[in-house]
Symmetry: C2
Subunit: 192 residues, 2 copies
């Protein structure tokens, strides 16, 4: 986990905020639940997963947040993101302003074409899911694999176990493959 | 969560806090995600669903919270519950102290045998799922149907749509049946 400069006294120094965003049906809630469980299993961090619905949340963009801290998490909503995953243009446009200046931006560039001019990691998670795994539905899991490679928030084996524990029976193989592809693709980006 | 010092004026009067609790694998997260979505679709309330993992959360009891408010929800964690669903004895024992004095207690008495001496609604959700639906896995959905009957937080048709939208393909019939059974069983309790 990167050490951000959370200046405010009330916020623990090591608080790390992740937002998975896309459109409804892209499995952002599933992804965040699994990520939360994996982080919870991996260590002694506190972790909270949440999503909201409300008048302001209507529309095409869907989000789910995961907040990690070694302190008790009194304020579980994400405020300034350390990591934003955007699976669609609409989600990127909507949530990019919530990303910290030095936060990590991870983009599915199957669908996202206009990316802010700053450091980011872009891979076509949806296309990889379709072409490499044969199931577009696991694009969220491909993205999780990439996040696992790009950060040190959770070990690959723990994340894989968490995904498989929640995946519908009969989808284990495609989910395992999806994580691996996402992980390997992101490792290539890191090595550049 | 223990009662934090949040009896401050900043919390809207109409805030309503729900906790679904049981053991891991009983689908409390699924239930809370679906309930959150249904409430979000049903009206103009704000609603937040969350779950936590951390050192204090280890052990057998699993919980997921839903907080509803007509105001923006600045503090999305449940503090004093308006409704507690307990599917196991361990969950009841652990989370009952978080229930408001006049909060609603809903218990699956398939597995829970010692219930506090106060008003509560008890039905064997797990047994009903097994015997009436033929699938023990939908006990959480039976419980959701009961909560729908016992409160006015969400209309039955909206809840049903939300469950079916998230249910794995091929399980629609059993989930529809599970909601109906839970709803009808709880209506009997109300009429007493």
């Amino acid at each position: 986990m990167t050490a951000e400069s959370n200046d405010k006294a009330s916020i623990p120094q090591d608080r790390f905020e992740i937002r998975l965003s896309g459109s409804g049906g892209q499995g952002m809630i599933f992804g965040s639940v699994v990520l939360c469980e994996a982080i919870g299993r991996a260590g002694d961090k506190n972790v909270v997963q949440s999503q909201s619905y409300g008048p302001e949340a209507r529309g095409g963009a869907s989000k789910a947040d995961v907040v990690v801290s070694s302190e008790e998490i009194y304020y579980p909503k994400a405020m300034k993101l350390d990591l934003l995953l955007a699976m669609t243009q609409e989600a990127l446009d909507k949530y990019y302003p919530d990303l910290k200046e030095n936060g990590m931006l991870v983009v599915d560039n199957t669908l996202v074409t206009e990316i802010p001019d700053r450091d980011h990691y872009a891979r076509p998670f949806t296309r990889l899911a379709r072409e490499e795994v044969g199931h577009i539905m696991v694009a969220n899991v491909v993205a999780l694999g990439a996040i696992c490679a790009l950060t040190d928030i959770v070990p690959l084996d723990v994340l894989t176990d968490a995904v498989l524990a929640r995946a519908p029976r009969g989808t284990e193989d495609r989910n395992r493959k999806a994580i691996e592809i996402g992980y390997n693709e992101a490792m290539k980006l890191k090595k550049k």
